[in-house]
């Protein structure tokens, strides 16, 4: 355990007891158009719980993927147990003694619990699996984790999310890992299960295992963590802070202090017009409850919240892509049929979804066909498409949004993230939509193109479109929106004009239980 000196001042490093088990230095990882990691340092010593903090997009997930051997860094050095290592594959990291419990559980739903725990390391004799041995080992591990009720023979897919989490933990334990990375392990657990998780973590660390713990819940970090490393925009901004004694305000400042300046256009135009979109009492069991808000002509409303808070689900339900269990959505006073996207589109709604490539684009098709997808029938005479008219219309819209390259016959796949997003926006401009729903509009868009997208969104609003923006990046919501709704655990917990809020306040509302 790292000593926690009560007099440690914020920003000073906690003394390190001995040479670190894991040391990462200057890790750089680039993806096309994005520098996800831009020089990250991380030190983890034996027997400590090291917390990794940072906003969405700060690079936490990329960093642990580098650590787990899923990504190879473009630069930097990783030292593990005194040796410089370079994991070519997840198997290599696994063999070295690093186990990762990913946020999206990497388990096989169709096979038994025991088979999952032993996957890749099945006890066998002469090539025959020894199921009894596997089941006994698994049962012992599950008992240790405080879940003797999970039967090793049970099919994994039949367990609850929390149960699967436990199995994932058991799998890490079965490897005798020296370092276990846990990516938001508490997200799917109830308080009792979190307490259990913490007990197990304490047992592990007492045995000298190191844990890298990622969570958005600051209170948890205070309870279980020893030291904290803060990431922002792909860089380490503070390392080895005391998990217990660093003031929350300090941590939030570290997480939010900007090094990259986003350029948000000035708010223009007079007061917003009439209410266009009116959402009342919207709910879906297990996702969100009693969500009400309205958006006026020319207004931008932002939904701030963490992944899993229900913000994307709310947007998709408004759009009809998910069927509302309760409540109504009205566009210009007329109620929409729940669960019908065509009805929503006819009424003038448009959605730019979160996963642009898998949810919005036909990547192999030319740009113009992507632009005209929703308005196709307008370019058809008795069912026959007039491609010239179609291409001309697409050209007009893409030129208006300055999509580059300008050739609309190019496959959508060949465009950059920012230009792909513009193609999606062009689709809705062509359709003539009155309400634009934007889910993470700048995800995968590089910094330069972001300002362009922001300006575009503002311009659309100024032309009378009602806009709803969902983003996990608080500055984006604050910079773009006129009004902000904060969503936490499926409820709108706060609503205020954007200029009455600041980043720290929103983050505080977004992250449950952190008191500034």
């Amino acid at each position: 355990m790292a000593p926690t000196d009560p007099h440690t001042r914020p920003h000073t490093e906690v003394d390190m007891p001995d040479t670190p088990l894991l040391s990462m230095r200057g890790i750089v990882k680039e993806f096309p158009g994005v520098r996800a990691l831009d020089g990250v340092d991380l030190d983890v010593v034996e027997g400590e719980v090291h917390c990794l903090l940072g906003q969405n997009g700060a690079g936490k997930s990329t960093l642990i993927k580098v650590l787990a051997g899923a990504h190879r860094p473009d630069a930097g050095e990783v030292t593990f147990a005194g040796e410089v290592v370079s994991f070519a594959s997840p198997q290599a990291a696994d063999a070295a003694g690093i186990a990762t419990i990913h946020q999206e559980l990497d388990l096989v739903p169709g096979i038994s619990v025991a088979d999952n725990v032993m996957l890749g390391h099945e006890p066998a004799r002469f090539g025959f699996t020894r199921d009894r041995a596997a089941e006994e080992t698994t049962a012992a591990l599950l008992r240790r984790l405080g879940h003797p009720e999970i039967r090793p023979r049970r099919e994994l897919g039949r367990l609850s999310a929390a149960g699967q989490q436990v199995v994932s933990m058991a799998r890490a334990l079965a490897r005798d890992a020296r370092l276990i990375v846990m990516d938001e392990p508490s997200a799917v657990l109830d308080p009792e299960e979190v307490r259990n998780l913490f007990r197990v973590i304490r047992e592990l660390t007492a045995d000298g295992v190191a844990v890298v713990y990622i969570s958005h819940r600051l209170e948890e970090i205070r309870e279980i963590g020893d030291r904290v490393t803060v990431l922002k925009d792909g860089r380490t901004v503070a390392r080895n802070l005391s998990a217990r004694d660093t003031p929350t305000a300090e941590v939030i400042t570290l997480m939010t202090g900007r090094s990259i300046e986003y350029v948000f256009p000035e708010r223009t135009g007079g007061p917003p017009g009439d209410v266009v979109l009116d959402v009342e009492g919207l709910g879906r069991p297990g996702e969100f409850t009693d969500v009400s808000f309205s958006v006026r002509e020319g207004e931008i409303v932002g939904l701030a919240g963490l992944v899993g808070s229900g913000r994307s689900e709310i947007l998709e339900t408004v759009y009809g892509a998910r069927k509302a269990a309760a409540g109504t959505v009205r566009v210009e006073g007329k109620a929409l049929r729940p669960g019908s996207v065509p009805a929503a589109v006819r009424a003038g709604l448009g959605l730019a979804p979160e996963e642009r490539k898998s949810q919005a684009l036909l990547l192999g098709e030319p740009v113009y066909r992507n632009v005209t997808l929703s308005a196709m029938s307008r370019f058809a005479r008795s069912g026959f498409v007039r491609e010239d008219a179609e291409r001309d219309a697409a050209r007009t819209e893409t030129a208006r949004l300055d999509v580059r390259p300008a050739d609309v016959r190019r496959p959508a796949r060949t465009l950059s993230g920012g230009n792909q997003q513009k193609v999606v926006l062009a689709r809705w401009l062509l359709q003539g939509c009155k309400v634009l729903l934007l889910d993470e509009p700048t995800r995968g868009v590089d910094v330069g193109a972001r300002s362009e997208i922001y300006a575009l969104i503002r311009e659309l609003a100024a032309s009378g479109v009602a806009v709803v923006v969902v983003s996990s990046e608080v500055p984006e919501v604050l910079g773009l929106a006129d009004r902000v709704l904060v969503v936490r655990e499926g409820r709108v917990v706060h609503s205020a004009p954007a200029d009455e809020l600041d980043e720290g306040r929103v983050l505080d509302l977004v992250m449950e239980g952190a008191h500034v």
Binding site: G33, Y319, A321, V341, P342, A344, V345, R346, L351, P353, S358, Q359, A360, L361, L362, L363, G364, E365, R369, L373, S374, M376, S377, A380, G383, F384, V385, E387, D402, R404, P405, A406, D407, R409, R410, P411, R413, T414, L415, S416, R427, Q431, D446, G448, A449
Partner: protein
């Protein structure tokens, strides 16, 4: 012969230059990225355009056809190259060809239809019962079309609205259509007594059998539907990315159901053709046609996962298989060897396509 929409001449890459400078001062990396994207697209080169066009993508199949022609000319000479023999090949291809048109739509739309052969058998039986034949040829044709489209509708509704996997639904349809056909016919071949229906196969216009005309018309209509209409465009969109199509406001379920109806309709047309050619309606018609049709679609370059494909490719696929059969018959070779050859061709064709796709940017 291009199966894709013709495109206007490509803009030279250089044309982006002045445009960029006009629109202010983009960041340096933006410049680089745009140019990189332009290079990667590769669609600007003549070769790239050709490869992307239908004719280009079917070049391999055309080569195979030429090769088969040469083999035929060498091994069977006049007997192969004669007009009557070529008409025989086309006639043999006509029935499976009509079915393949429907299957191509379903597969491009992201589905699969295993039931086609037996839906055709069921249609042929239903249209040739003594009761149906009593109403005359028009009702017989209508009956075949309705039974085919009806079976397709059941498939489509179960898949699109019942959310059952297409493989399972159409497999179940294959089995039950076979059963129903056997029940209606009492497992006997029903003789076509109506002279009009029986006469279709023997009628020739300008020396060419009517069956070939039907085949050609169905292919032409199918081509127009796939490449020139909103229906075809939506088929590609839904097969390519059904979630994106759904979120763009397309009625994905209704369209999916319609694709299976279309496939069933093609089976109905084929049923009349086979009833005429064999002068029987029988539950044994169309056995394994589903596999022949799917094989033709695959070697025709259509992605089994949907979203990409050409009708012309599928038809070339049908012609390749029929020509092989013809060559084996002319050379008195065993059908067993013929099936081995067909299997090998499928594997080779798919391997070549996989290579070509990997070369794509």
């Amino acid at each position: 012969m291009s199966d894709r929409t013709p495109v206007s001449p490509p803009t030279p890459t250089g044309a982006h230059g002045p445009e960029l400078s006009k629109t202010g001062a983009p960041a340096a990396d933006e410049h680089q990225r745009v140019e990189r994207a332009a290079r990667e697209a590769g669609g600007d080169s003549a070769a790239g355009r050709l490869l992307d066009s239908g004719a280009g993508r079917n070049l391999g199949l055309v080569a195979v056809m030429v090769l088969l022609g040469v083999v035929g000319a060498v091994t069977a000479g006049e007997r192969f190259l004669s007009v009557p023999n070529l008409l025989t090949v086309l006639t043999q291809a006509s029935i499976i060809g009509v079915i393949t048109v429907g299957v191509t739509f379903v597969i491009i739309g992201g589905g699969i239809d295993l039931s086609v052969g037996k839906v055709m058998a069921l249609s042929s039986v239903w249209a040739t019962t003594v009761a149906t034949q009593a109403y005359g040829p028009l009702v017989m044709v209508l009956c075949a079309l309705l039974v085919g489209a009806g079976a397709g509708l059941v498939n489509g509704l179960l898949i699109a609205y019942g959310r059952i996997v297409p493989f399972i639904v159409t497999l179940a349809m294959l089995i039950s259509a076979q059963g129903l056909a056997e029940q209606i016919s009492g497992r006997r071949s029903q003789i076509v007594t109506d002279p009009t229906i029986a006469g279709i196969a023997t009628t020739r216009l300008l020396g060419i059998p009517l069956l070939i005309y039907i085949f050609a018309v169905v292919v032409a209509l199918g081509w127009v539907l796939l490449n020139r209409t909103t229906f075809g465009r939506r088929t590609f969109a839904i097969g390519g990315n059904s979630e994106a199509a759904r979120l763009a406001g397309l009625n994905v379920r209704r369209h999916t159901a319609a694709l299976y109806v279309l496939s069933g309709l093609c089976c109905g047309i084929a049923a009349i053709m086979i009833a005429s050619l064999t002068t029987t309606g029988s539950s044994t018609h169309g056995t394994l046609y589903e596999l022949d049709a799917i094989a033709a679609v695959i070697i025709g370059g259509t992605l089994l996962t949907g979203g990409r494909g050409t009708l012309i490719g599928s038809i070339l696929g049908v012609l390749v298989f029929t020509t092989i059969t013809n060559l084996f018959v002319l050379n008195n070779l065993a059908t067993e060897v013929q099936n081995i050859a067909k299997g090998a061709i499928i594997v080779v064709a798919v391997l070549i396509q996989a290579r070509a796709r990997r070369a794509d940017p």
